[in-house]
């Protein structure tokens, strides 16, 4: 405990240095926002497993290491290297971030439609756009979690996307976050704001990738505002270094008749905790959350989701699958809140967990809080090894046992990948899932 306390003080004093350095060049509202963030963090500190929301996930990998704010020094990354990590080619809608900092040189925005703003948050803050001031930090609040509090305290850069009224972006826009520590472990706080005006449509591919296998910490927050009748699909691919830590919040706020979908695929990092908070704040809105976790070794991935039905006639659909090998561990919390007056809510939640080895473990907890009386909420969870009956079924069709096992595991993954409508991304993730399956199968043969 003393250790975590010391490190809390470290980040508080880091903030003082950070704030003094950048204080003169940022507008007052941003300075105030940062102060709110550090205030909150100072009050609550890091969570422990005694906190109900953190009982299955120890954050000691984060709280026990001194991470320095990734400020000036950044690894040099070539265009060729960036190209390797690009998930969708040819659209010229690419924002690249090195250690959390927007890199104009490596990005390309020539394909962005007229009226759309896609740029670094630092840059747009300097330009003084009202929309940033009015919306940044208004949905993912510092009081929600100590990590959002830290993100708010150290908010500096990240992606900003504004899609004007009735503008349809055909190709997905990519946000590529590349990170490497270099000499000492660093922390980055990428902060993204996506604002979809009425009738706008876009898909965003947000990926977090480790450049080398070293220890660092990414603490990312994405806020998405989806106005009346707008549509947004965020694809999120987490492939951090397997020694890295990843904490993230994705916070959406939807207005009337809008549609928001998040498809998140977690493959990397030693420790990952993703808080997904979706607010259905207008009638007739539709929210879909899909997640696939496929991990091995001692990896740990925790999805903590909250869907809040505030208005009537909204649908939410949540579907998370996990494939856990070796000693890896998965956690899923699916909290659904139906506020008073949110009648005719239709909500479905499914969480399936496949344990490929005896050392793997998964915890699943649905939490339904319903304050309206005319609603339909269903939830279901499964947990266990490959189903013997399914295996036998495939074998009776001539499929060899090991091929059948791999096919059944793949099916678990593909169920989520099928939600990806960007063909190139779907294909790439399919290959990654396959590669990891083959790796696991090979290890089993050897041992």
């Amino acid at each position: 405990m003393t250790k975590a306390l010391d490190l809390k003080d470290k980040y508080v004093s880091d903030f003082e240095v950070f704030s003094a350095n950048g204080g003169s060049s940022v507008p007052q509202w941003l300075q105030d926002l940062r102060e709110q963030g550090i205030q909150c963090f100072r009050d609550v500190g890091f969570p422990t497993k005694r906190d109900e929301r953190w009982r299955f996930t120890s954050m000691s990998r984060v709280t026990g290491t001194k991470f320095a704010l990734a400020n000036g020094e950044r690894p040099s990354v070539s265009v060729a290297e960036v190209r390797q990590h690009v998930l969708v080619t040819g659209s010229n809608q690419l924002l690249v971030f090195i250690n959390g900092r927007y890199s104009q040189d490596l990005s390309s925005t020539s394909g962005v439609p007229e009226g759309v703003i896609a740029c670094g948050l630092r840059e747009i803050t300097k330009r003084g756009l009202d929309i940033v001031e009015h919306h940044l930090g208004k949905y993912a609040k510092p009081s929600d979690s100590p990590f959002t509090a830290l993100s708010t305290a150290f908010v500096a850069d990240g992606a900003f996307l504004y899609v004007p009224r009735d503008t349809i972006m055909g190709d997905p826009i990519q946000l590529l976050f590349l990170t490497a520590s270099g000499g000492r472990p660093v922390v980055t706080h990428p902060r993204n704001l996506i604002y979809m005006e009425s009738g706008a449509a876009a898909s965003v591919v947000e990926s977090h990738i480790g450049l080398v296998e070293d220890t660092y910490w990414t603490n990312s927050v994405t806020e998405a505002v989806v106005r009346d009748n707008a549509r947004l699909h965020v694809y999120r691919v987490q492939r951090e270094s397997e020694q890295a830590n990843h904490t993230a919040t994705t916070q959406s706020h939807q207005s009337r008749d809008s549609s928001f979908a998040l498809t998140t695929v977690e493959l990397g990092s030693a420790l990952s905790r993703h808080d997904i908070n979706a607010v259905l704040g207008g009638e007739g809105a539709d929210c879909s959350l899909y997640g696939l976790t496929q991990i091995q070794g001692n990896q740990h991935v925790d999805h903590h989701t909250t869907i809040e039905h505030v208005k009537p006639h909204c649908n939410s659909w949540e579907f998370f699958n996990g494939i856990y090998d070796e000693k890896s561990r998965g956690v899923f919390t699916g909290r659904i809140v139906v506020r008073q007056g949110a009648q005719r809510t239709d909500s479905k939640q499914t969480n399936n967990n496949l344990l490929l080895s005896e050392g793997a473990r998964a915890d699943s907890q649905p939490q339904l809080e319903i304050y309206a009386d005319d609603v339909r909420c269903t939830h279901g969870a499964t947990l266990g090894p490959i189903d013997d009956n399914a295996l036998f079924y495939l074998q009776t069709r001539g499929i060899e046992a090991d091929v059948a096992r791999s096919l059944l595991t793949y099916g678990f993954g593909v169920e989520i990948l099928n939600k990806i409508v960007v063909p190139e991304l779907r294909q790439l993730l399919d290959e990654l899932v396959h590669a990891r399956l083959d790796e696991g199968a090979e290890r089993r043969v050897k041992s």
Binding site: N321, N352, D387, D388, N389, A390, F392, Y393, L394, Q395, T396, R397, G398, I399, E400, A401, V403, A404, L407, L408, Y410, G411, F412, G413, V414, E415, N418
Partner: protein
């Protein structure tokens, strides 16, 4: 084709089959009938090689080979097929993908080149034509969200595509409405050939109005209590199973 001699088998140490003798020749359709708990499904599972069922005595020779020594997938490659009473739902894998994997597994053990998706679709469409169905279930995950009828049809489609020598249909009629039952039966009849054989396991005589068997066997308490021609099925329909049970104890 298949010779079962004095087969004793069970699950979790409980003996269910207590000495089955049955010979099936190419071109024949045999029906196994019997009340619930008589061991009908156990016989089907043992023939398909379900690992939960243990054989304590007796032999099963299929085309000159000891069937009981083969893994389920080896039995499939040798031409044994079982249509499941409760077809299993498979997450994520489409019917088309699954069927192609099954066909290619069979082709591998026949030393034939595997089919790519395009060639496979051709084969599939021919089969769909033969049994008169559309391919509307092909892009859906295997049996996932299928109605009872769709699941059973899907079993028969797999049988059509895999062209088994010996097909075991385990209660394929259970839970089917009359139209689905007719469709399934017609498909089975279309696939009937002089060089293959079927073992139709059913509780009800109704299916046998559509799939006309050459032989009917009545199973009671783990043994074949009575064998006869198709007329035996009609007798069972009018008299029920009770009159069979008595002699079974004596045998």
């Amino acid at each position: 084709m298949l010779e079962i001699r004095n087969l004793h088998a069970g699950v979790d140490g409980v003996e269910i089959l207590k000495g089955i003798d049955l010979t099936i020749n190419a071109g024949e359709v045999h029906a196994i009938m019997g009340p619930n708990g008589s061991g009908k499904s156990t016989l089907a599972q043992v023939l398909a090689g379900h690992p939960a069922y243990g054989v304590s005595e007796g032999s099963v020779v299929y085309e000159g080979r000891n069937l009981l020594e083969l893994e389920p997938e080896e039995r499939a490659c040798a031409g044994v097929f079982m249509a499941f009473q409760y077809p299993v739902e498979i997450h994520g894998i489409t019917n088309a993908y699954f069927l192609r994997a099954a066909v290619n597994a069979k082709r591998r053990c026949q030393d034939l080149e595997e089919l790519d998706p395009i060639d496979f679709m051709e084969v599939l469409e021919q089969k769909l034509d033969v049994i008169g169905w559309t391919d509307s279930l092909m892009e859906r995950p295997v049996n996932h969200g299928f109605s009872g009828g769709e699941k059973k049809r899907n079993e028969i489609l797999q049988m059509a595509v895999l062209e088994p020598k010996l097909a075991v249909l385990d209660e394929t009629d259970s839970g089917l409405d009359i139209d689905a039952l007719k469709a399934v039966a017609e498909a089975v009849n279309t696939l009937r050939r002089p060089d293959n054989a079927s073992l139709v396991v059913t509780h009800y005589q109704r299916l046998l109005n559509f799939i006309v068997p050459d032989f009917v066997h009545v199973l009671a308490r783990g043994r074949i209590a009575k064998s006869g021609g198709k007329e035996l099925a009609h007798e069972l329909e009018s008299k029920g199973y009770d009159w069979i049970k008595e002699p079974a104890g004596v045998v």
